[in-house]
Symmetry: C2
């Protein structure tokens, strides 16, 4: 794609109303646009990164046997009254209608997923079941100042599972823990798992997946050697103590952001909707329900917090909106022709969407600064100087130095993570 | 995929609260579940069909040069006050917040798309621009009885275009008309184009894309020989009159459903948000804005209305949730083994998602009735009787008769639209 035609180019001045790095960089680099606090439009580059994150999550949820569905956002008030959430959950939007009815705007989907699934389960033989969706949710936050990390409107992957007994929930939790850690590894993030209060959702414990970042809203103690961490709110150990799980390292204190969570909801929802199933030997069983969430838009914010330097974003290849940033410097006809030829070769090898060609008539300084700000994994520069040697200058976004490569070897010499 | 494991199986009794064929069949066949009037959950089969329709629309929008974005659903009240829509549009949900602010729940996205795009346009040289999204919208309908055809929550593809002058809008409209007609052809629908009032959106004329179906909410006169039709509300001709456009046939009266629409919004939005651009020779120009919409979930409803018989759905291959319905009849071990072998061959040739294997322990009658209800393009049956001849029975959903095919030839003999 040609940068001159792209909707959502870089903005010269960093936005003044954004206090976090993720919001400042994603707005300035043209990935998102703030409509109001906590509510963003995703521009073409931003939508590709958001979709790339969602696709990775979807693959891993499918691999666990989860079945994808799409749940409504507009919910009947009665479903939320049945569980007590209508009055208890302060971030739930209540939507009046001219029909005289009231609706809730989904902040989570238990109130829809539970009656939907349980109505289709007859006996314990139909269990377990896991359905999931990737969908938008809403929270009436009093404040929303963390860019994509705390949205009033945000994209989540939420799975709802149903089990005959606690042992089956525990087995599914173990599968899902592995799947979540695999998702975060594929995204280039190191996640830790904590235990914390289930909050308004449950009297039972919950599990939180945390990524260490100064922009996070939680204080944790984590073990650098294993997956374990603990929220300081409930910690009974201190920084410097040996890890109580692996014993291989001492705990460190850090700020962290919650990128995933799991709630063991017990029988709360099957009882609230009065939906037992038949037991194996007669009688009734109230299925145990689990909720597993990954914040897709939040993860995009966390990635921006972690994957940037003072010049701009530094995307992992797995979620970059394109792999190669081609910049032609100057308006020399030979440079433009060589650039266009290289663009065609790269687009042919990687697909047009994977190559962003900055074909604008702007200075070399602006182009190189924008390439750093946008943060694609590989930058390829063609200028009168490189062309004199029949070469292009190739530089990984996260490398200190560029190298000269003969024009005819650029495509064949692409690094593995960019070429595949 | 194995039908025994699928979430969203058929329901024996047709739902009593659905008055339209699309809602009745899509609910009974396990594609959707009604949460409340006008609001549906999409189960795995339904989500695949919805996604297939969206993918076709996306391809054609990309081919016109449209750039995909994602616009928020929660809008600031101020944007709707600026255009007068806050008070004038009766189906607009007003959402109160505990912060004291009010939001609108997007029924359409002009109020967000116009300021977003116009803020990034400096001069007429930056025009034209077309951005689009595939996103959910909300309408506070007094009644919602037409299944997926009139939703309170519905999926649309909406494109917003910006032009320096009327001639450029007209040129873009011609491109989009072709793209829309191509979308509907690929979906197996015959669409006609009408002109009608722009309604609350515009004082200027609008264009509507109509599909003839008795479940439709509009009365039109259409020409069977060309694309033209007219809404009887504004018709100055009558049924039986020669087509005023092609003169090749006489007009017929029919009920029809609007599956797409185009609004020429003129300068309304660039003036409401006071966002002119610099003209080519100085001065300012207020860009002309166009809005182009295709109802994705509505099209799914219209397809169900048109593509069914008295036994169930009859999906066009382009939007079927899978291509082959494999049914093994009886619990004979040889039948199950031959079925599993054929399932593996078909899944290997077409992909696992394209083959639905009804592996349940239910009667042959139930399996064959469910295959007709679900409506995949090709049904393949293996029973003790077919197996005696080393064969399977193969039948297209829309064919009257089945034919016997040697087991080893089923995959190589798949019809073109199923095999590709």
């Amino acid at each position: 794609m040609r940068y001159s035609q792209l909707f959502g180019q870089t903005i010269r001045q960093a936005p003044k109303d954004e206090t976090t790095a993720n919001a400042r960089l994603l707005v300035q680099a043209g990935y998102v646009d703030k409509l109001m606090a906590g509510v963003y439009s995703y521009l073409p580059l931003g939508l590709r990164t958001l979709d790339a994150i969602a696709d990775i999550v979807r693959e891993e949820m499918d691999a666990t046997g989860g079945q994808e569905v799409r749940l409504p956002m507009l919910h009947p008030k009665a479903n939320w009254v049945a569980t007590g959430g209508w009055d208890a959950i302060d971030i739930l939007f209540h939507v009046p209608s001219r029909t005289g009815r009231e609706y809730a705007l989904g902040s989570s989907e238990e109130e829809v997923a539970a009656p939907l699934a349980l109505a289709r389960l007859q006996t314990v033989a139909d269990l377990p079941l896991a359905i999931y969706q990737i969908g938008w949710k809403f929270r009436d936050e009093l404040r929303s100042k963390s860019g994509l990390m705390r949205g009033r409107e945000f994209l989540m992957c939420d799975m709802y599972s149903f089990h005959a007994d606690q042992a089956d929930f525990d087995r599914h939790y173990a599968t899902m823990k592995d799947a979540y850690l695999r998702v975060f590894r594929r995204l280039g993030l190191t996640a830790k798992v904590t235990e914390a209060s289930g909050g308004a959702f449950s009297d039972k414990i919950s599990y939180e997946f945390m990524v260490v970042t100064d922009a996070g809203e939680d204080d944790i103690l984590f073990c650098p050697a294993c997956d374990w961490c603990v929220n300081v709110e409930i910690a009974t150990v201190a920084a410097g103590a040996p890890c109580p799980i692996c014993h291989d390292a001492t705990l460190r204190a850090a700020r962290a952001s919650e990128v995933g969570n799991v709630f063991d909801l017990g029988e709360k929802y099957s009882r609230a909707f009065e939906r037992p199933v038949r037991g194996a030997s007669g009688g009734t069983v109230y299925p145990i329900m689990g909720c597993f969430g990954i914040g897709i838009s939040r993860v995009m914010g966390v990635l921006a917090e972690i994957c940037h330097d003072d010049r701009g974003l530094v995307w992992p290849a797995a979620v970059a909106p394109a792999r190669v940033h081609l910049a032609t410097l100057g308006s020399d006809a030979a440079v433009v022709a060589a650039g266009e030829d290289l663009y065609r070769q790269l687009a042919s090898a990687l697909g047009d969407r994977q190559v962003l060609w900055d074909d604008r008539s702007v200075s070399a300084g602006v182009k190189l600064a924008d390439a750093d700000l946008i943060g694609l994994p590989l930058r390829v520069v063609v200028s009168a100087r490189t062309l004199a040697g029949g070469e292009a200058e190739v530089k990984s976004r996260d490398a200190a130095d560029a190298r000269r490569v003969p024009l005819s070897d650029v495509v064949s010499g692409l690094p593995g993570q960019v070429a595949r």
